[in-house]
Symmetry: C2
Subunit: 323 residues, 2 copies
Amino acid sequence: MSKFPDNIFDIVSEDLVAVEEELYSIIQSPVDMVNDIGVHLVQAGGKRIRPALYLLCARGGVPNQAELLPMAVAIELIHMATLVHDDIIDNAATRRGRPTANARWGNHSSVLTGDYLFAKAFSAIILARKNMLKILTDVICNICEGEIIQLKEAFNANQTEADYRLRVAQKTADFIAASCELGAIAGGLDEKSVIRVREYGYALGMAFQITDDILDITASAEQLGKPVGNDLRQGIVTLPVIYALKNSPRSDELRNIIINQKMSDDEVKRGLEIIHQTEAVEYSYGQVHTYLQHARNSLPATLNSSVRESLFAVADFVGLRKY
Amino acid sequence: MSKFPDNIFDIVSEDLVAVEEELYSIIQSPVDMVNDIGVHLVQAGGKRIRPALYLLCARGGVPNQAELLPMAVAIELIHMATLVHDDIIDNAATRRGRPTANARWGNHSSVLTGDYLFAKAFSAIILARKNMLKILTDVICNICEGEIIQLKEAFNANQTEADYRLRVAQKTADFIAASCELGAIAGGLDEKSVIRVREYGYALGMAFQITDDILDITASAEQLGKPVGNDLRQGIVTLPVIYALKNSPRSDELRNIIINQKMSDDEVKRGLEIIHQTEAVEYSYGQVHTYLQHARNSLPATLNSSVRESLFAVADFVGLRKY
C-alpha cells in the first residue's frame, strides 16, 4: 500500500513520532514471544492513517496535550489488533510484503496477541473521557459485526450495493469516522463541528475502502504486497464485482465463479477479466469521487485553516492513489 | 464441571440473577449470527464464579448498588471472551458437554465474537473507577501472556514446579484474585483489607486450577464434559505430570510420551497410568489444601461475618469437588 506523501501530515509529524515511540514502549512484555510479535507488528508499519487523522482533527482545535497522545496510541493498537485477527481469518501469509504474525508464530499465539493489544489499548486510555471510551468500544463492536457479515455473505452472488455499503460502513468507515470524531472532541471543537468532522471521516473511510476494493482488481501483486484478486478468491463481493454481476453479458459465468468456494487460479483470473470488460472500475471510481466530494464539503469552517488544507489533501490523495 | 452448592452464593443470588439478565441484554446484536453465538455462550452457563466472588467480596463491605452490577457483567464477559478464544486455540469441540462456538460457527466467527465480547465488557464499565479499569486490563494482558507461555512450553518435559506456578498464576489465579479485589474495592473496604481479599482470591485461584489439572487425570469424560487426559494430549505439563516426571521409575517413558506432538490415544492412556502409579495426585491435592488454608487465613476480619462464612465455604468446596 502506498504511503501518504510525507508533507500531508506535516502538522502532526512530531505527534506521530511520539506515537511511534509510545507504541514500542507499550507493547513491551516480559514474555519474549509477546514482545517479538509486538515489535514485528509495530515495525510492519502501515500508514498510521487513523492516529494521523485523529491528531490532525484534534489540531483543528486546541487539544489538551497531555490527553492527546494516549488516544492516538490506543486507536493504532486497536487497528493492529483487528489486523492480526483479520490475517488469521483470511489465512493471509503476507501483509505489506512481510510475513503476517499468524504465518510466523501460528494462529494460536496470534489470537492471544490480538487480545493483548486490545487490553493494552484500553489500558492506555483509562484516563480518557467516558464519551470517548464509548465511541471506541462501539467501533470494535461494529468492526466485528461487519467482519462477521462479510464471512457469512462470502460466496453469495446476490448482494446489493446497499448490502456492500452497510458492510463497508461497519467494517472500515466507522473506525475512520470515529478517529476523526475523537480528534475533534480532543481538540475541543463545538458539537456541530464534531458531527461534521465525523461525517468527513465516514465519507473518507467509504472512499478509502472502495479504492482498496478497486485496487484488489487493478493493481499488481508487487504493488499490493499481497496476491491480486485476493478478495474475489475469498468470495468477498465488492462494489466492482456487484457492478459486473449486474451489467456484464457474462454475468452468469462470473456468478458461477463467485459461488465456487474452491476457486482455481484460472477462475480468479477469468473473473477479473470479466469484471475488466465492464465499466466496473470506472463506476466504482465515480463512487469514490462522490464520497470524497462529500468528505470535503463536510469539513466545518471552525477548523483552523492549515488543518483544513491537510484534510483536503488527504481526501485528494485517497482519490489519486494507484496502489 | 460441578456446580457450586446453591446455598454457597445465597447472599448474592439476587445479584447473580440480575447479572444473568444483563448478560442476555448486552450481547444482543442486530447481526443475527452475533446474536446467536452470544445467546449460545450465555446459555452454556458455567459457574459464574468470578462475578459471584466479586459480588460476595463487595457485599463484605457496603457497595454502591448502581456501580455494582456493570463490573460483574464485564468480568463474566471477559471470561466468556477468553473461553471462546481458548476453545479455538485448543481446537475444542465441546465445553461443559455442549458444542463450542468454534465447532458450531467456525473459528473465524469465533475470533470476532471474542473481540466483540471484550468490547462489550469495556463498554459496560466505562463509568467504573479508573483503578478498577486498570486492574481489568492488566488481567487480560496476564491471561494472554500466560496462555502464550503455555503454548510455547507445550510438549516441553523440562518444566519445573516454579514454571507451572507462574503460568497458572498468570492464566487463572490473577483473574480470580482481581475479581475478589474489584469486589473489595466496590464494597469500599480499606486498603489493607483489599490486599488481603485479593490474596484470598489468588490462593483460591491457584487451588482451583491445580484441582482442574488433577481432575483432567482422575475424572471421567462424562464428569468433565470433555475428554480425559485432554491437557496431556495437548502437551500441557501440569503439576501431577511434573511430579510424576520427577518421581516415577518410568519417568523416561512418560517424558517420551509428552514430547511426542502426535500422541495416540494409547499413549495418552499409558501416560495417565504412569502418573497414577506415583503419588502425583496426592501430592497435588496437598498443594491444593495448602493454598486453600492460605486463602482462608488471608480473609480480613473487616468483612461482614456472613460474607466471611460464604468465602470460607467456597474454599471448602474447591477442596472437595470431585469433578
